[in-house]
Symmetry: C3
């Protein structure tokens, strides 16, 4: 007996009937609004070249570490899912897809299940429950879908009604794909780069000197001194702003922003350039550099997003075999109040500055982030990200931050994904959950339904524009 | 179209109809009980002198950092809200009030909205929704209310049925206002001081030597030695007890209570008196002094409340312009198990000791505080405080502490406020939420309704008397 | 008016009627499944010798620190509950039982109330609410029950349908009781030992040298060198495996697994054997030894459970009077991501390794444990333990770990108890709560009811067998 997938219209809304009624009405008001995606990882080449997707596995499985990591935890070798294998043969692609289908029950209770089901039904037009029995039929259906013209990235931008999409880019990138999109009159959606300078801010990192050399080349200056590094960074930020960038993104182990005095910064920079900086001093110089980036953000108005406190490549054997971003990055605790104090002392009340702090350490939501964002006009609380971009976590987030910071101090939803087909499902999930939370407040007579409706609209349509200066 | 405020009788009760029915019945049993307020910040002069309130802004906005901080986060200058401006002109007061009304949507989802609405409807008798359109009308209505005799503090003590109110006072205070209240036969409510010695326990603080000199003067002894400091502290505690005090209150960065040996304490004290103590040694001596206060509490029976782990004056620019307590204090993580171990080893099973630990670091509720309070007869878990004195946070608190500690190990509600008009709304919110939590237990057949009713009554009427020795 | 206890058939199921309906159906599928108890503290002698219980107090109160600690917090002396008093006289037993009954309201809102009520009604066949009025009647009824043949441990193993029970045992134990059970053809239930080597892994502990000497004697080798210690440990693991053990259990202050190089390990071991190791070096050597245990687990396949981060014997006065395990152990914060990195780098993808990490620090559930277990095939998330083996905590646990790790990465329920009569109530509570959580997912259309039913069955029947290699 085959089961069929059904997307219930009330999915993710609260179960209590009266609360659900309110939630359904609120959701109805925002369900169809255009998608604003101010932070994500879609390769700009896909859109510039309107590249057709290759095969079901490389579309839906291999590059999505949310998906592959749970299979790995169940004993599957990442290589068998195509990770690090280059273009897959038809047989290899089909075999990997089968593994995924056979282990579909692993995803029960996870957002990956919800996103995948939405993609199957709403995007791919397939209503089969993944299993060993349906693997081939599903594979064929997806492959058939890939072959259509309407399945290419630009057509999907329209189908998904994505009005704004930010990619993530290296400061040395020439942004040619973005230029091509701007120069192409047939493409009317807005796609912009994001300045992501992490590697240039880790002076004890193995590749740092090479990176900085490249930065000097690209910016046309010299990075022999710290002042040169600052000038090069500023130069590239101008380049990014000229290509439409609205934000910079930063991901380091901690949120530290302690500045050094000028002499000490120059001394440590010199040590780093000679390859002789210690890990500890590398961290000190990095924190100084992050504070410098806050200063630049206050000056040029690029929103600064922070995604800290991830232990990257936790399993060395996996990193050696497969490289980075394959599901072995693990969060660690983060501290905000003391770490951001130096930067906020300098720039925290500057009306031109917007800092958005994301975290997977939920303990700081009510303890530090909401109190901070409820005071500093420059600070916004990033919505749940990565492992906690998920229904229960989003409910906990709203519960934890709203009482001290209201709704006005959050970031608006970001999908943070390179899984292009999942973008509508991710935004839809956030809209449903925010409406459910608001409906709960209405049901407890803490908001009127009018206030809730205005707030739902604000969160989806206005807040991301406000936070990212669109 | 003007909207009108309505306070729904079931506000803050659980949405599920059967649970709400139980909650409504439980709440009905405790809604009308007198208010016991064993910790707060109402100035005793207001009551001793029965001072009329001045104007709507200085009554409801300027001194309330819960209110001003969210406006500040939205870009309002604190000066425009009257902060640090002395007595406001009519124009300035009206303008500040207008700013607040125009930005009223900022408070959606916060307890400030609920408290403010309750004050408007239940105390001030106004049912207008704050907005730019209603700002002047609201201002006038509040100003008219202020002018009435029935709006003066003593009349409100009766109207609110506050049977017990503790203020917060400096150890050197002569407690003249409290004496005046006791000596006044026309005033029958009980208002007592609270001994708050923080500044005398921070030997590395800038003002410490001056403070200690004043302490010596007031107590009539000498504070040249550590023994002298101890004697002076004991002397002032006697003074406070003679004036009705039932508790002392303490707020330091951490909860440390490690004692020093006598020689080391005397040596560090000498360093501090000569102005030469380091920050680190200042912390060591402070922890020793806190342990000494625990010893005194075990001896004289004053309940000792601890409100730790706040980073005060997080934004230096704001502190310079406006001083302390203007909304820029931010919580940090706290540790309890190890920090309190030395004091609890000495005094933790003393039947004469009551320690109440408050926190805004919710992580310690289930991990440390509930397990500790479920063993030590001297230890009580403070109810949610400050940023987490809010509906969702209170639900999380009861969920987190009850299973390991039951209901008997919490503190009873404290409002911790100087916003006098909000006191009934704050206590009412706590009563509603506790009844909602109890109703949830009844609905899941974990308590009978009789047990829940007894518990609701215990939490409101008995527990604060037990904890504060009333 | 006497009240009577009633166990509502829907207790602990969600209150919303439609969700409860689903939960009731799911629970109906698993309520009657046999109990698998892969980690607990029932003394094997009870079963080997089929010892009758002694008296109501020593059966239900004295040895259960969950019960005695709350009484202690209310001011009762542990001695008055029989703690540390040896066999109690009839009068002393009855007096202690009366104290408990009189203070029965202390347990409202705690799982102890639920477990106790279940034991009274379902096991002991008594429906009286404990109170001063009922104390003697209850005592007599329990005493009468104890006298029956059907109340002896072996009969209860059958009545409770416990198909598998692991005890906790010292590595030097000869496992005679376990051998006796295996050799007894009349006993058909499976009871196995668990290897618990903590004391042998704390080289700075006061008794460590004596312990290691005994280990050397029992294993027949020498422990003069670190290599000798390793060989002795391996020898005892073989012994335990030969007697049916399926797991080892470990409880240290932190989860550290940093290995030392061979020379340093030998040097520190030598220091420890001469009694001259510092606390810090003791911790370093212990972390090295724990990593060695992970290596052994990967080799011999014994599941390795970790119960870290408890501050034992928090109150020295109580430890002096009454010894260990009397309710004065308090959790502290734990860190997982960095602490386990060394061991997981070595063995984390070994298909023969199973590590189960339990915690009472709920902050690591979503931040560290779920992300780790969602990648490493060797790592399982332990279900809530000790203070958080409780309804609200279990709901928070499933909410926190499921979204990143699904249901497949948890441990299955463990009761961790020596309170033999409470075993069915504890497993039943977990089943009800897991079914309630699943029903919530069904109600929000995140799972189909078929998927939920399969998952409920998996959690109760399959997962513990998978995790403990049964």
């Amino acid at each position: 007996m085959t089961e069929f997938l059904q997307l219930h219209p009330d999915r993710l809304l609260p179960a209590e009937p009266a609360v659900r009624d309110v939630a359904r009405r609120l959701y109805g008001e925002v369900a169809g609004l255009p998608i604003i995606s101010p932070h994500g990882h879609v390769p700009p080449a896909w859109l510039a070249e309107d590249t057709p997707f290759r095969d079901p596995t490389s579309l839906l499985i291999t590059p999505d570490h949310y998906v592959t990591r749970l299979l790995h935890s169940s004993g599957v070798d990442l290589a068998d899912l195509g990770v690090g294998q280059g273009d897959l043969s038809e047989d290899a692609s089909r075999a990997a897809f089968r593994i995924f289908c056979e282990r579909w029950p692993l995803y029960r209770g996870t957002p990956m299940k919800l996103w995948f089901e939405s993609q199957l039904v709403d995007v791919l037009g397939v209503d089969l429950v993944p299993s060993g029995d349906t693997a081939d039929q599903l594979y064929d259906a997806v492959a058939e879908w890939i072959g259509r013209d309407s399945s290419r990235p630009r057509a999907l931008m329209d189908e998904f009604d994505i009005s704004f999409l930010a990619t993530t880019d290296d400061p040395c990138d020439d942004l040619g794909h973005h230029r091509a999109l701007v120069d192409d009159p047939s493409f009317t959606r807005r796609v912009v780069p994001t300045f992501r300078p992490d590697r240039y801010l880790e002076p004890a990192g193995a590749s740092w000197n090479d990176d900085v050399e490249r930065l000097a080349d690209v910016s046309g200056g010299s990075c022999d001194t710290y002042a040169g590094w600052v000038a090069a960074m500023e130069d590239r930020r101008v380049w990014f702003r000229q290509h439409g960038a609205v934000s910079t993104d930063h991901s380091h182990r901690d949120l530290g922003t302690d500045p050094l005095d000028a002499g000490e910064a120059e001394r440590l920079y010199g040590l780093a350039r000679s390859g002789g900086i210690s890990a500890t001093d590398g961290d000190r110089l990095r924190r100084h550099m992050v504070c410098e980036m806050v200063r630049m953000a206050a000056e040029d108005g690029l929103t600064m997003t922070l995604h800290p406190a991830v232990h990257r490549n936790h399993h060395p054997g996996t990193a050696e075999r497969f490289g980075a971003d394959v599901g072995a990055d693990i969060p660690v605790a983060v501290e905000v109040t003391r770490a951001l104090a130096p930067a906020l002392a300098r720039h925290g009340t500057d009306p031109n500055l917007t800092l958005v702090v994301f975290t997977m350490d939920e303990t700081v939501f009510s303890r530090e982030l909401a109190p901070l964002a409820g005071f500093y006009p420059s600070l916004r609380i990033g919505v749940p990200w990565w492992f906690i971009d998920a229904p229960e976590s989003i409910k906990r987030f709203r519960s934890a931050v709203t009482e001290a910071a209201g709704f006005s101090r959050t970031s608006g939803f970001i999908d943070d994904t390179r899984a292009f087909l999942s973008i509508p499902a991710r935004h839809d999930m956030a809209r449903r959950l925010d409406c459910g939370f608001l409906a709960g407040l209405v049901a407890e007579h803490r908001l009127t339904e009018d206030e809730a409706r205005e707030t739902a609209h604000y969160l989806v349509a206005t807040q991301p524009q406000e936070v990212f200066g669109l």
